[in-house]
């Protein structure tokens, strides 16, 4: 490890303005070789902008301040320049080409070649396998397309890609947002290994337990300003949160008592076939019931079939599926999301960008998309009445937007999610399915979404909550279903339930509760 005070990388007084508005206002950030610095801040605090400055997306000269690399000024004009220096960023959204092979992705842009520009596949396969071995992935065929592997594997491929570029400074932006607990564990282990090998890391995450575990130092930014940099040893999760929000958060889970009524919804024998490989069942004969005002958590590892299960119930599963549904004692046939919504069964999908929002449409148009008929007579929209509803929803759900006509893509993730929730709430759901409702959402918006979930339950709405964050499931749900490999592996009342119990059921190692 480098000597004290000997920084590999230093940012001094970075200021970046967009049309006169300062997104970054004097940020300092320092990293030593072999050190992991946690960068924390709410969504919109300026983390992404800062990362774009330091990785060369915003070229030298388009911002003020200076960047030192091994004590020398670094003037990166493009991502390629900064990568050549040894700075590699792994983005929150995976940047892999699905149809290219694992090895081709790992070496994309830096292909190993033979004379004449021919691809040296043998060398790439060998080196890719070696890299993946280091990451403890030994079940991967590097010649197969990336799309054959799940999100967890793909995240690790991204890291292999960074290692192939011989990264000295690795920036990880929310690397675990699509990983399961076990995959997260592997990733954190890898970050620790990298530190021992002298690689410096900047770790950006909302998941403070991860920051606490791998980071040596934590820098907090808020509203584009540098708030504090302290050794992790002097901090804990509550202290970091306090710095991030500038005030102490009492608790993210103000658990609200609510009455649970009679069985309102039943799903029986739900099965989904893999759309590509119909021999394989993604969901295999899952049955459950749901009571009025109940919050039902569905936990499981990525690939356990949770999203497929709820999509099939909502009529949105892409492949073939079968299910018997009963809503309020009457059998329900759902062939499309439209039918589901009209019956009172609504869903907020997992992938907000692809399935939740229409990016170019205004915030208001997105909010009323599912219920446009309510404001229309003979196909004519009463726009003023629509706008009245929209403004009421924006107020109630605390969607921060300059105007209801602003394209929704310009909003932060948390505000987009609140708008998507508003869209479905306008349809007056009896059963509301929330698939990863707080993914990529800042802490403030998270707390508001939790409050809303309890509020709805108290009003008698039944909620199905799919989440990969166990504390979220345990903090919100009245009952927890655990899925694994397409099957139901546990059905626990949430009384004294621990993360360990849920995880054990998900990986099929623990005792099964009676379904």
């Amino acid at each position: 490890m480098a000597a004290e005070g000997d920084y590999l990388f230093e940012m001094r007084g970075i200021i970046k303005a967009f049309a006169g508005v300062k997104a970054l206002d004097g940020i300092d950030l320092k990293v030593r070789a072999g050190e992991c610095v946690g960068l924390c801040g709410e969504n919109g605090a300026g983390k992404s902008t800062l990362m774009k400055v330091l990785s060369g997306v915003y070229p030298h000269g388009s911002w003020e301040g200076e960047i030192l690399w091994r004590g020398e000024p670094l003037r990166a004009r493009s991502v390629r320049d900064s990568e050549r220096a040894g700075i590699v960023i792994i983005h929150q959204e995976l940047m892999l080409v699905p149809k290219l092979s694992v090895a081709e992705n790992i070496f994309l842009g830096h292909e190993l070649t033979r004379p004449g520009g021919r691809m040296d596949y043998d060398a790439m396969y060998a080196k890719a396998s070696a890299l993946l071995q280091e990451l403890k992935l030994d079940d991967v065929n590097v010649a197969l397309p990336v799309m054959n592997y799940g999100g967890g594997h793909q995240q690790l491929f991204e890291i292999a890609k960074a290692l192939a570029k011989d990264a000295k400074l690795l920036i990880l932006d929310e690397p675990t947002s699509s990983l399961t607990a076990r995959e997260t564990e592997v990733l954190l282990g890898i970050v620790e290994d990298l530190k021992h090998r002298g690689v410096a890391c900047i770790y950006i995450s909302h998941k403070l337990d991860e920051v606490e575990r791998v980071c040596d130092t934590v820098s907090v930014i808020r509203d584009g300003k540098h708030i504090a940099t302290r050794p992790m040893a002097e901090l804990d999760t509550d202290a970091i949160i306090a710095l991030m929000v500038g005030r102490k958060l009492e608790s993210l889970f103000p658990k609200v008592e609510h009455a649970i009524g009679e069985v309102i919804f039943e799903a029986r024998h739900v099965s989904c076939l893999d759309p590509v490989n119909p021999q394989r069942k993604r969901v295999d004969d899952v049955s459950f019931e749901l009571r009025r005002g109940e919050i039902l958590g569905i936990a499981g590892l990525v690939g356990a079939g949770r999203t497929e299960l709820v999509s099939a119930i909502f009529g949105a599963y892409v492949g073939r599926s079968s299910a018997e549904l009963v809503l309020e004692g009457k059998p329900l046939k759902v062939r499309s999301p439209g039918e589901a919504i009209r019956a009172g069964l609504c869903m907020v999908p997992e992938d907000r960008k692809r399935h939740g929002i229409v990016p170019m449409l205004g915030v208001g148009d997105n909010i009323t998309l599912a219920t446009l008929q309510h404001y229309a007579r003979a196909g004519h929209i009463d726009r003023q009445r629509e706008l009245q509803t929209v403004e009421a929803q924006i107020g109630q759900r605390k969607v921060k937007t300059a105007s209801p006509a602003l394209p929704i893509a310009r909003l932060s993730g948390g505000n987009q999610q609140k708008a998507v929730l508003a869209k479905m709430l306008l349809a007056n759901p009896k059963v509301l399915i929330l698939d990863e409702p707080t993914r990529g959402v800042d802490i403030g918006a998270k707390a508001e979404i939790y409050r809303l979930i309890f509020e709805l339950a108290a009003q008698g709405v039944s909620i199905i909550l799919v989440s990969s964050e166990l504390p979220e499931v345990l903090g919100l749900a009245d009952r927890v279903l655990v899925m694994g490999e397409g099957r139901l592996r546990g059905n626990f009342p949430n009384q004294g339930l621990t993360q360990e119990q849920v995880l054990a059921a998900a990986i099929d190692a623990g005792p099964r509760a009676a379904a």
Binding site: A316, S336, P359, L369, A370, Q384, K423, A427
Partner: protein, 380 residues
Amino acid sequence: MQAQHIQQLFARYKILALLLAVAAIWIFFHIATEGAFVTPRNVSNLLRQMAITGMLACGMVFVIIAGEIDLSVGSLLGLLGGVVAVLTVNLQWSTPMAIAAVLALGVLIGLFNGVWVTRMRVPSFIVGLGGMLAFRGALLGVTHSSTISPVPDDLVYLGQGYVAPMLSSLLGMVIFAVLIALTVLRRRRRAALQLRQLPWWTDVLKLALIGAALAGFIVTLNRYGGVPLPVMILVALLAVFTYLGTQTVLGRHIYAVGGNLEATRLSGVNVARVKLVVFAIMGLMCAFAGIINTARLAAGSPSAGSNGELDAIAACFIGGASMRGGAGTVHGALIGALVMASLDNGMSMMDVDTYWQYIVKGTILVLAVWVDVLSGSQRD
């Protein structure tokens, strides 16, 4: 900073930029033709020429906003125009009967295309390419590859007639009165619902500008016999399509489907039906354009509508529609059609060789979209 400001201005007032481009083109041709371009007679001709591409562009812009494309419209225009000629000339149908039949046929063929795209899930590019060949073939079949004439006078009137100056002025005033009424009604409704109001002078300014443009348009055309009938039809279509696009559930769903198909489906919208309707409307517009085309030529021609799809598609993109779907406007597409028609008309007047005409039109299309990209509106 300076460049950014200009960029924002362009993005915000894209229509203004387009109108400036049209003005520049007109001034250029006016000088190049020594004052023969911007005359009542030529403007009247120009707008009449533009009407057919404009009708196609009205339908096409919805197809493009919905994230699809339809390459068959030129051939379909020809086929439907041929059918109206065959019905009136060979089969002696009355003109209203023949028009009604062709409009219905247009909708049916549009639906047929739509079914291929939505139910059979063949990409619309391919369906259009197939239709382009097949409809042209059908046209050659029904006309036996020869020109069919003379079509009845009442049909010819649709393409070559004028709305009398008095009536034109009256219609212009009615349109203006309706616009004022709509504005007042909207302000009242917003006040009743306690929504924020725009300052009153913006509405007045907007109405004044529209009024001035309308007056100039009608006064000019009245000096050459009145508003050409196809142009009047196009103005009516502009009103109907703008209404469809901005005030109806269907319109909102078209933008949503093109903007994000999956999110729209998961919001409970029947996306297949939206696309089907869009293709049906496109078929209907082909029928309109085909009938007017036959009426203008006073004959059904086996080559009618060749390359019509390209002009219509180019008009939409010049008018700011997004290649990815989800964005575009009807008035933008019509201004795009005006740009294309102005180039055709001006270059013909200057006796520019045909080969140059193609090169110039192609270049303008690419440049127009490039400017759009620079203004940032084609980015996601």
